[in-house]
Symmetry: C2
Subunit: 324 residues, 2 copies
């Protein structure tokens, strides 16, 4: 029997002590602790890693502090489009949804795909039709709304000064380089939630959920529902990532953590470190990931100032961290 | 300077000499040869691997014989939803679209994402809005229509006897197991087109495009636009896959070909063989892939009866094969 463990993240980015007041820090810490306790309880009662990560991410989606479910960021059009994925390392069964706009808990839709569909990934209207047929709770788009995300979106729109069309990206990048600034509010880029777990049987699972990046173009899909990029689990490691999703897709970051362990014999910690601190950095990818192996080792590397994160081993106190 | 080479596939599956008359065989062979000659020409003129694979897949999309672009299969709703991806191994730049319904050449939309967007993957309406903003040709859905795919779709619907809702999948599988047959026309499952190339500079690229699987649920996304699954390129290998997409996603098949080479020192051929003949088979994944490495080695393994495929090295005659 392995000592079961769950780890979670609530996004990485420019999170510094200077920018965080004591009340806000307590709020985040308390929220992360509650989620960890719930995941720990599932594992303590003999639940599977798959059940533990699904429950943890469901709670993170319901918490308005994090960019997933309620509290999701807004697209360029001022709408909400959510992605989520879940993968069972024991069987490699997987389920994901992309660009859903009416599903209260995208991770439950992902779990339903895993359990009840021959397919593994559904997008947009088809994903919602599937969720609805599965009897999952649908909500009006204003369910996801929070004033904080709306203000963040307005800042992002104001800082670009205009509609950010994709073919403007090169021009904007050039303008930003001239000005020596990122034209887009940096706090837009790193919100995602996720969980990884190893249960008492040594089975692994991962789940990830996100509202994406603030002011993203409608239809943009990030790394979250791309298995191997932002979510992945097999019999070697389970990984959930957060960051500039495009870079995690291009490096197939989550699968690479497992592959380096399986084929090159790296430890979990060293493999994850190389992915986050070397490979992602090489293409200017920012963010972090959480990962667990079959022995219950956990690592939580990030190349940003901070990452909301925590670990809970069954029978031990939970641990929550925010800064680097 | 490497001897530049391009390889293509037009899908794998139950392709047997018995089922193929001489005219049909000639038709497929001629189509594959034309595509190979076009890709070879790009490379011979000093074009990049990225340009060669984009052009080859564009032509495969335009050819009604293959399940991509014109000639795509129908969804359960009788509609068309196409996916495509392209990746440049030299830079790891990537672009993909999923569930597009009006873009004449999805691979050109994928290429536009690669070149002109900060994002790498767009789905559904957002993908079409992006393609339209890029000035790409849009078509009415009946552009994709072919009588052969319509008949195939009707057979698939008839063989399931009813609407194939996702929550019916388990029941259908049980029914099929009892009857000892696959309830769904097997020819539905393996259509995809793709190309991989190594140019004279030793740079690699891959492109993949598909209409998906016949009678698929609306919104289903397969392995094609999932980088690392059905399309992937880096500085070790470029890979394009075709088959039961869900299994290629769960095994992160395309990235695994590269990872086994990079970390375990396997040859291109042995790495691809293990993925197709062992790892995919272990989870009942059917299909094949084409792959090329920086030395210009090419391998085209498949675990089905046949795969439409071919190879063209600059300065040599093209080679086309269909059966195992």
């Amino acid at each position: 029997m392995t000592q079961a463990v769950i780890a979670i993240h609530g996004g990485a980015g420019t999170i510094t002590r200077a920018a965080m007041d004591a009340n806000r820090e307590r709020e985040y810490t308390a929220a992360l602790e509650q989620v960890l306790l719930a995941g720990q309880r599932v594992l303590a009662e003999g639940g599977s890693a798959l059940d533990a990560v699904t429950e943890a991410v469901r709670l993170l989606e319901d918490c308005p502090l994090f960019n997933a479910g309620k509290g999701a960021v807004l697209t360029h059009a001022g709408t909400f489009e959510l992605d989520a994925a879940v993968m069972d390392g024991a069987t490699r069964n997987a389920g994901a949804v992309a660009c859903v706009t009416r599903v209260r808990n995208p991770v439950l839709a992902a779990r339903a795909v895993l359990e009840h569909s021959e397919h593994v990934l559904f997008a947009a209207d088809g994903a919602e039709a599937f969720a609805e047929a599965q009897g999952l709770e649908l909500v009006a788009p204003d369910y996801y709304f929070t004033q904080a995300r709306h203000d963040q979106w307005q800042r992002a729109q104001a800082s670009t000064g205009m509609a950010l069309l994709d073919h403007d990206a090169a021009a904007l990048a050039a303008k930003a380089a001239q000005a020596g600034t990122d034209p887009i509010d940096p706090d837009k880029k790193f919100g995602t939630v996720g969980a990884v777990a190893c249960d008492a049987q040594g089975n692994l699972a991962a789940a990830t959920s996100t509202g994406g990046v603030t002011n993203k173009q409608v239809g943009r899909v990030g790394d979250t529902p791309v298995f191997g990029a932002g979510c992945y689990a097999d019999d070697v490691a389970a990984v959930s990532a957060t960051g500039t999703g495009e870079m995690f897709i291009r490096t197939v970051a989550a699968h690479d953590v497992s592959a380096q362990m399986r084929y090159a014999g790296l430890s979990l910690e060293e493999s994850a470190r190389r992915v986050v601190m070397e490979k992602l950095v090489a293409i200017e990818g920012r963010g972090g990931l959480i990962a667990v192996d079959r022995q219950g080792n956990v690592t939580l590397p990030f190349n940003t100032e901070g990452m909301y994160r925590g670990v809970a081993r069954v029978g031990e106190p939970v641990s929550v961290l925010i800064y680097g």
